[in-house]
Amino acid sequence: SQTIHQWPATLVQPVGSPLSLECTVEGTSNPNLYWYRQAAGRGLQLLFYSIGIDQISSEVPQNLSASRPQDRQFILSSKKLLLSDSGFYLCAWSVYGATNEKLFFGSGTQLSVL
């Protein structure tokens, strides 16, 4: 069966520090991968979307970046965090090429930038 791992679960970082969140998927090949952010009381905002290795689409201009060095690995990074980067970050995957695709989410990372 497929599983998605996301870590860390909680992170407290000072403003201006770098960020690296990692997500891996097991049990499937060539998945679509996504990074979402959920601010308190807000909906899910799509940040990045990837259909394959080194194929990343950015949905929102910001100081975050994403990389996909391996088929089932998706990394969210920042060189310098801002206060506004605080939020709940979720990695998700879906079946490549499937219509009516449903998303499978990781357990999330609660990021607090202080």
Partner: protein, 113 residues
């Protein structure tokens, strides 16, 4: 631009009653609509998908309707239980391009014993 609205941020329902949540959309002609459940501090979990040519879909105590004329989906939980308390999100694909879902802000449902 496309817009999704879930009618209320929070809904309190007495245990045993039917909970009804609403998802409205504008400037969309989605081929399908999905509903997810999200517990505090966790990622959303897929519940149901309903296609544009389906008026109703059921799964155990859950029922979803999809009215493309009204541009609305209703999500019902019958015989509600405290364990049903969670935030429920609707999600739709864009009209064009890659199928990346857009989510509503969710309705926080509390079932009162």
């Amino acid at each position: 631009s496309q817009k999704i609205e879930q009618n209320s941020e929070a809904l309190n329902i007495q245990e045993g009653k039917t909970a009804t949540l609403t998802c409205n959309y504008t400037n969309y002609s989605p081929a399908y609509l999905q509903w997810y459940r999200q517990d505090p501090g966790r990622g959303p979990v897929f519940l149901l998908l309903i296609r544009e040519n389906e008026k109703e879909k059921r799964k155990e105590r859950l029922k979803v309707t999809f009215d493309t004329t009204l541009k609305q989906s209703l999500f019902h939980i019958t015989a509600s239980q405290p364990a049903d308390s969670a935030t429920y999100l609707c999600a739709l694909p864009p009209n064009f391009g890659n199928e990346k879902l857009t989510f509503g802000t969710g309705t926080r449902l509390t079932i009162i014993p």
